[in-house]
Symmetry: C2
Subunit: 317 residues, 2 copies
């Protein structure tokens, strides 16, 4: 039996045929339309991708166990509805019902960060752990929670938004895209790191970060890390502060969930142990009852570029 995983993004809809062991047999993608309407639902484009991967993998749709869809935004996974999606203007789209007109198969949809967490748990670095906190450090901070081997989404699938936990209630707190001030996302996302890097560059005209950014053509999430590794003091300070921000939110999560493992995904996770080693130390020292409570492993997520397809496919397992 095969699984089909669909990864809906702002730019493209990716899809793949996946084995139950997590091997991708065939994958493809089409661009996301600028504006879906009631006449042309996103389900039509998802159908195109499903049909393309079934054909491309040269399988029979009868051998497909189910279709999983990962979608950014607020998803009512119980009823298969996109409640609201910001980056691909969607509201109350009953995707699962629409697709079930075409396929006599179990079809699932969930938030993309939830899918990524599930994918890592089933196929990736989260294998073997029953309790996992997954975060992805990208444009924002996404989070997903595995409790006792199962995806935890909050009541009515409307929770698990760890990135929108306020960690700074002070008057100088940074604004967040969600409308609140001081959210973890506004400190620990790649976007926030780039802001922090630029601020440090402005304050430190002699920092290596200027040369590095020039060579790279832009200030990115890598700039401060590259500088720090070359012994640049200002770069080191940016990285240290950034790690403190990540750690702060993670300790908050650990104090509530006490997971066995924390998995960090997203572009920043390419820093691997340079990122995870100090975080693991700080989380275990900083957590409530550090002296007597169990420790937590901090690792990078492993599915990388295929995380979206594999995470969505995992929904159908």
């Amino acid at each position: 039996m095969y699984l089909i995983g669909i990864d809906v993004g702002g730019m493209s809809i990716k899809g793949g045929v996946v084995t139950t062991e997590g091997e991708i047999l065939f994958k493809t993608s089409i661009p996301t339309t600028e504006k879906y309407t009631s006449d042309y639902s996103i389900s039509e484009d998802i159908k195109k991708v499903v049909d393309a991967v079934v054909k491309g993998a040269n399988i029979d749709i009868k051998d497909v166990k189910g279709i999983g869809i990962g979608q950014p935004g607020s998803i009512d996974s119980k009823n298969g509805i996109i409640r609201y999606s910001n980056n691909i203007a969607l509201e109350n789209v009953p995707v699962v019902k629409e697709l079930q007109q075409y396929y006599d198969l179990p079809i699932f949809i969930n938030n993309d960060a939830n899918c990524a967490a599930l994918g890592e748990h089933v196929f990736g670095a989260g294998k073997g752990y029953n309790d996992v906190v997954f975060i992805t450090l990208g444009t924002g901070v996404g989070s997903g929670f595995i409790i006792d081997g199962k995806l935890f989404e909050g009541r009515d699938c409307a929770g698990a938004e760890g990135g929108h936990m306020v960690i700074d209630i002070s008057p100088n707190a940074k604004p967040c895209n969600c409308g609140r001030k001081g959210c973890w996302e506004a400190y620990a996302s790649a976007t926030a790191l780039i802001r922090q890097t630029k601020e440090a560059m402005d304050a430190n005209p002699d920092s290596m970060m200027h040369r590095i950014a020039k060579e790279e053509g832009q200030v990115s999430g890598k700039t401060a890390f590259l500088a720090a590794k070359q012994g640049d003091k200002a770069g080191r300070q940016v990285v240290d502060n950034y790690i403190d921000y990540i750690t702060c939110g993670l300790v908050n999560m650990v104090n509530v969930f006490c997971p066995e493992a924390i998995l960090i995904g997203g572009g920043i996770s390419n820093e691997k142990e340079y990122l995870t080693a100090p975080i693991q130390k700080a989380v275990n020292e900083g957590r409530f009852g550090a002296a007597f409570n169990p420790t937590v492993e901090v690792k990078t997520a492993s599915l990388k570029n295929d995380a979206g397809i594999l995470g969505a496919a995992a929904l159908a397992l």
Copy 2:
């Protein structure tokens, strides 16, 4: 059948015989010994209370369904062990095993805030809700979580410490008893409110709070509320800020758990709707995806003085 609930506190060990409907038939208490040793375990005192309530309620121990114990600190509820308790210097005490030498009954122990959450869910204001976030605003901020009708304790019963979520990462963050800075507890506990009230009194020599504190004999968690209700501007400001602090942490919880109801216990909850009405409004406006996600009810806990005994008894249900 009857339940026995034991509520261990820093000052006393309370106990009661409770019906399965949550009626207390008989209760009593004994003082907590200053220092328990390996020769004289706290289990001995718990036994005294159990025997006293069985006698006092005039029931047969054979008609007892189980014994539940609520205990402050870090509790390994799976193995019935007090890992660590701060206020009654205890470490690695296998209470359940010790008590099972005396009683051929199911015996349970859990953290007191978890018990309180469970008690409200089973017998109190949380009845009928499947997903509840319970907080108690007292010396600290305790928290307990009901997910899908069951108590959620985190892996190895080492989570659910919502009070130790940092909400202020700024350099001026208030220190917390746990060793971290900026914990929710350092802003939203009754202790914090008293500190905030005193600070406002120092800054506002004309505030009504001075007269009220004099009349009450002390600055308490009620001082600012009483002043605010009488139109005192500085008192109003203290209350407004305090409500913002409570709300900040609650929105963080809602974004992760999306409970049906938030229950607020502890001394401060005596302010009832004066406290909960603005919090309910602010939580529902401030939560992530407020426009499309389900709303949350905010209520005060209902079990009050007997919460400890009833919550512990609920463990045995």
